[in-house]
Each structure stands twice: as C-alpha cells, then as structure tokens.
Symmetry: C3
Subunit: 133 residues, 3 copies
C-alpha cells in the first residue's frame, strides 16, 4: 500500500499536521500490524513528529530553527535557500511509525508534521505501509 | 513482534543506553534477517545511535545541545520546555536498524540511546521487529 | 537482500553521493515494491538525503554544520572529535526510502549522501531491501 499526497503550503516556514492522512492510509491498507513510512521527496522540506496540542510549540520550533540557520547566512548556493536545505538535513525527510491493531502508535501529544522550509509551494509526500505477514 | 518498554530517567537531560533491550527483543522474535524500529512516543525525548565507550561523549552531546537550544530561550510555549521539543525534533523520535543473522547490525562503537530532554520522567519506547519473509 | 559497501573518504568533512549504490542494491534485489534502509555503522558519520544538483549546497551544509558545532568547542572527550559525534547525532546514521516499481522514490533534486565528519577514513554502509509480499 502506497499513497501519494499533495500538500499546499502558505508560508516560507510552516508546519502542517498530516496525521489524519497517515492514519487514513494505514486504515485503507487493512494492515493490522506493521510499519508506515512517511517520506517527503523535497530537499528544502522535511517530516517530523512533535507536539500538536499547543500551537506555540510550532512557532517556537520554526523561530528557533531560523535562529540556528538564518535565511541570510553567508552561503554560496545562489538560489538563496541554503538555510532551507540545512533545515531539511536537520529535521530529515522521512519518519517511520509502528502500526499496532490497525493504528499507528502515537503518544498523547504526538502528531506527524510536514515541515515547509522554502514555501509557499505544492509538495509531495509518500506514505507506505508494510505489514508483518 | 512488538515490545513496549518503560524507561525511568533521573535528570532533565540524559542519555540511557537501551541497546540490550533492543537486542533482547530481536532475539525473542526469532527473526534472522529483517529490520527493527525503535520508537519513542514522546515529544520532548528522542532516540539516537551514538558512541557508548567514553561517557564524555554523552556529556559533550548533552552540553552542546543545550548550547544550541538553551532552556531559557525566548520561547512562547508556556510550559517552559520548548527547548525539549526542539531537541526532540533535532534528534528524532525513532531509529531503524538492520538485523543480520539474528542480531541488529551495530558498529564497534555504536549503542542505541533513549534521549531524555525533559525529565525526570517514566517514558515509553516501542520496539518493532519486521522479518524478511 | 542486504549489501555491505565500503566508502573511502578524502577529507575530515565530506558528503559522498551513494545514490547509484542504493539503486543498484534495489535493482539486484528484484523487489518491485517495498522499502530500503541505508545504515551507517559509525558514530562520527551519517546518512542524509539532500540536493545533488548544485555542489555549493554541499559546501554550505558542511560549513554551516561546522559553525553550529565547531571542531574546537569546549569538549571533554579526549579524542578531539566530539564535534563529529554531535554532527552524526544531528544528521542521523540511517535513512529509509520507499521502493515503487523497482526504484527508490527520490525527488528531482534528491540524492542519498554518506556524511563523513571525522575523515579521511574507510567507512561501512549497509543497504537492506524489504519487499512487500
């Protein structure tokens, strides 16, 4: 089971909750026990699993990443988005979750986020389910 | 094969070697060739694979992460643990290892660590084994 | 299907494009749909998926990582490579890709890189293919 989803982002830096899409693909697959891989095919974006309850966490994450990797750093790459590539490297372009009883295991506060670091754009994410047996 | 383990941490920031637990789950599964996913269900903790031999490396890692993401940064999130969320994002909440001949492949110096960034707490980690056939 | 490859690096910090090796292992496995895990067994190196087109991106990535984690920081570990361990922690030692129609899904700009942070050395990377059925 493999699904391809499009994500439309609205800002240069943005976290989009895609947990419902991941759960949906797992449900459609019918897999009861296994794993699910969420993969982003871009080099200026990423996937993370982090807090969904308080939106201030998203703001803090994005602001601090921009402090660690400033947009206007002393970079060679002429497109002006070296910061986006470096943020992508730090966050990573994929995450693997475990499926138990037909549902991906997520802690009480966890959600799966698409991380946009060079938007706004339309982005592609792939969700792959692998069953045990 | 899926096992759930509890980890009791003692400090706010701490690395706990859980390699023996991962090897144990792989051994119990009877899987000779496949993969094992180690997943932490928290948003202020993570999983890493790094050096086990010299404890100074753990100290250096934790000290430098706290330098990159200070506890008392200018954060919005009212709980006072935005630094913990950002460290979790940097380190990541899961790692995947390869199983060969019934044992997870680990380099001479590698160990699997649970990374506590907002302890002390009792934490949950899930270990999932997927066999080839 | 599991392959072990050796990578000879030439500098202390270096990104080596290993995409062809990953595609090769996937092709040899005959797996049409599944996943492939690229795992580096070292604690001062890592695996990333990032931009391959403009070599300036590699330069910017390595320079900025060295800014975030300076080689001559105030570290305890006596071997003088704590920066390498911390970079490895940030980048991560493995990545998982999705296989569709016999090929790992990679975006137009994506390549798989071995990340050397304490070279020059000869390094070991393991590539594991898991099929769906």
């Amino acid at each position: 089971m493999l699904e391809h989803i499009d994500i439309r982002t609205a800002r240069r830096n943005e976290l989009t909750d895609i947990t419902a899409r991941v759960k949906d693909t797992v449900a459609k697959s019918g897999v009861k026990n296994g794993i699910v891989i969420v993969y982003c095919e871009h080099t200026t974006a990423g996937i993370t699993i982090n807090e969904r309850a308080d939106p201030a966490v998203k703001t803090d994450i994005l602001a601090h990443l921009s402090k660690l990797v400033p947009e206007n750093g002393a970079f060679l790459h002429a497109e002006g988005n070296s910061d986006s590539h470096i943020k992508s490297l730090i966050v990573g372009v994929s995450k693997t979750l475990i499926i138990e009883n037909g549902i991906p295991i997520l802690g009480q506060w966890q959600a799966v986020f698409f991380c946009e670091f060079d938007g706004p754009r339309t982005r592609k994410v792939h969700i792959k389910v692998i069953g045990d047996e």
